[in-house]
Symmetry: C3
Subunit: 346 residues, 3 copies
């Protein structure tokens, strides 16, 4: 499925510099063949670009000169252009429309005729599945769930009853949405379970990674805001309110009732126990134990502003030397005191 | 399903203050309608209580006066009362009794006629399923497993062969119980797998969260003590001995052969590599590398007593200033030495 | 299935000291019966060895004298010997050969007649399953996957399309291999998904734990090197290149494109964001933010050489006292300055 560079340039609004070659795919610099388009995101990749067999490259205008031996599609946001063009060459699997006779659909469920329901899918009572949504084998859709159109549920996704997915949601294998929150009342040495009346609302174009868990609300709703992206093995507890366009990296965890604003970035293995404002960033492994204001960048556990954290870490790493210096100071001061005492005596 | 407050008061041993209203449900302060009962756990919620539409509240006697405009159910343990009353209004799903013709049951398995076995359930040889236990779709029960009565196994739960669940155990979606421990013998550069002869015993009224893993013992038993509650994505390694009434929050991890006493609380993302005594508490993100005595509260990685940890953190956060103070001290001391030397010379 | 010690000694190249007893199994010191073989790995276990009912022990020659009351199989690597002998007594479950009529196999898939395919297995188009490989119930094998011979896929394993497993791979329940990497292009406030063309190659004799996730490469391959062992709930991101014989403990996480050499050990809950050289070790909970050279042992977050880390931790734990000492020094220095000033004045 060859495409001319001029055609690709037009599709993404890029400027073509050099020969109008035909390309048959996209690939990384080190893997591309002569017939594939590759990409250079920044100066860091120039060395690899020298070695690549690709004759056509996506690149920012600032590198046009260095890369002048190649045919170039020049665009400021190389990564966005890559995303757009890559889909042209990506062979999306075709899913058979309709309901497999090996699926099990309870009474009252409504499945759009253009949905794809694979063998070994279970759809509970009164659930609704929208057009072009795909339920892979072993997907469980609980009673009363609503799956809008264009959703992609990979194998073993579990939607507890009452879960709502808006248009274009992708859930990877083993993701669990709507499980009970971790809520108990303590009475003496017993933990009494508190029933969870709430549900989970996943807004449009959210993607959730493999084996990630999102608990339902105790009351009300656990919300995953539109366009948010969640990696694998992330824990989102009951009543979390996640804003739009948030990014949570692998193994991050959000405790109950935590509120994140829009467009918050959370690094891998970070744990968040307080509110995080719009546009804030939380570094990998951070432990957020104080509210994070909008736009702030925090790191460490307990998390603090990242510049301060860097200085704390730098000092921490010099603590052994610091100890020695303090010992030396103590000795010096003792000697000074001695000297003065001796003079007093003399 | 309306209930009179006087009736609810009698059920939980609370005192009714104010009008004997009828309520049709329970809900959070901010979400409750006029017909729902809400709850005030502490003074912190008084502001929200002023705004709520709910006309009836669960509250501690100490707040009776501030809330005198409402009908009150007064009780010391509001949260326990909430748990008890909430179940009265909770519509538990009805599970069809019996074995779905779409389930697969191997020879020798015994399933109580009052159990519920959904489509796409697999029950291995000689497994036993007790009365009123529910196996949701895609549950795998390995050969020789014992599931006592009143257990609730959500979709995709996996019980490896030989796993034993006592009465009233709840396992959430994707939980894996009884997988091989992570045990190898190193021989040169090869890791030889050590077979795992042991099993997992989950005692009564344990609840285990979604996608949590509990490994079987190498020899003997990995035990989850009665009434313990484990959150999502927790790792419990081979031969762990978890006491009664423990609480492990999301993404916590216990390494092989670790022993926790009764009623231990472990925060989210904590890692435990040593024994923890009865009633001890381990803060979120802590790394326990030394034994924790009964009743202790520890935090940090490596974990230490929490009051000390707080002081260490406070000092850590001031390290940049501390460095400056040490520099200043060094200068002052150098100047003092200089001064004395000059005098010696003069 | 009794075995004579002399026979076992011959099998593993051990020296028999004492009576040539028959044993019927292996077990831990505290659990063994008189008819079972137990094992003493080091001097630490001598006390337990005094108490054991076992009459035959695996032990290192250095402990032969202390244990002279027992029949001994003497060998330097007790753990390796244990692994070898334990399998002789381990009752591996028998898996029925062939394809269950309740499995679903898409067109073009090739399943070796000696493979075992349980009920409720899904095998996608053109997938290949090798001899003696076992697919437990609820295993999903995507289109075009290659599963070589002697692989063991526990219930709920998901192989996304195109995943390749070499000979002897073990995947535990709920493991997900080949899910999309977490890759997006940011354009304004939108995250554009980048399609993932790559796949995952799992080399021979790898074992992967329950609910662990391994993402496919964006381009090229995510590789898990031969003989590597990965524990439960581990995150391996897109394009990771894991060497041979690596060991990743529970809940560890590797970010995208990270390269680990051969025989790297990674502790539980560690997070790795940089290259790690051959034979290096990363402690539990470490956060690797700088390249780790071959053979290094690192700890802490950010990770540093472990001896230095120990000294930093020791100093950190004394920070409250350190603060006091600095206060004292400041007072002393102030007093010295005062004294000198007074003398100047007098």
């Amino acid at each position: 499925m060859a495409k001319k560079l001029s055609e690709l340039a037009r599709l993404i609004g890029a400027t073509l510099q050099g020969e109008d070659l035909e390309v048959k795919g996209v690939n990384a610099l080190s893997l591309a063949t002569e017939e594939e388009l590759s990409f250079v995101e920044s100066r860091r990749h120039l060395a690899a670009a020298k070695e690549t067999r690709a004759r056509a490259l996506l690149a920012p205008p600032s590198l046009a000169q260095e890369l002048s031996g190649k045919s170039l599609l020049l665009t400021e946001n190389v990564r966005a252009a890559l995303s757009r063009l890559a889909w042209l060459f990506y062979e999306s699997p075709e899913h058979p429309r309709g309901i497999s006779p090996l699926a099990f659909v309870e009474e009252g469920a409504e499945i759009h005729p253009e949905a794809s329901v694979y063998p070994f899918v279970y759809v509970g009572r009164n659930a609704r599945i929208g057009a072009r949504s795909v339920l892979h084998p072993f997907v469980y859709v609980g009673a009363g769930c609503e799956v809008a159109e264009d959703c992609l549920l990979y194998p073993h996704v579990v939607l507890y009853p009452g879960t709502k997915l808006a248009r274009g949601v992708i859930l990877h294998a083993g993701a669990v949405v709507g499980s009970d929150g971790f809520g108990y009342a303590q009475e003496g040495r017993r933990h009494l379970k508190i029933p969870h009346f709430g549900h989970v609302q996943v807004e449009e174009e959210v993607e959730i990674g493999a084996n990630t868990c999102v608990d339902r609300a105790t009351f009300g709703v656990t919300r995953i805001g539109a366009g948010s992206k969640i990696d694998n093995l992330v824990q989102v507890a009951h009543n979390v309110d996640l804003g739009r366009g948030c990014v949570l990296a692998g193994q991050a965890g959000l405790t109950g009732s935590v509120k994140l604003g829009d467009f918050v970035f959370v690094g891998g293995q970070a744990g968040i126990n307080r509110s995080v404002g719009d546009g804030a960033q939380v570094a990998a492994k951070a432990g957020v134990a104080r509210d994070v204001p909008p736009g702030a960048v925090v790191a460490g556990a307990p998390a603090m502003e990242i510049q301060r954290w860097r200085r704390c870490v730098a000092a921490y790493e010099r603590l052994p030397e610091l100890l020695k210096e303090i010992r030396r100071l103590q000795e010096k001061v003792a000697r000074l005191e001695e000297t003065l005492n001796e003079r007093d005596r003399s």
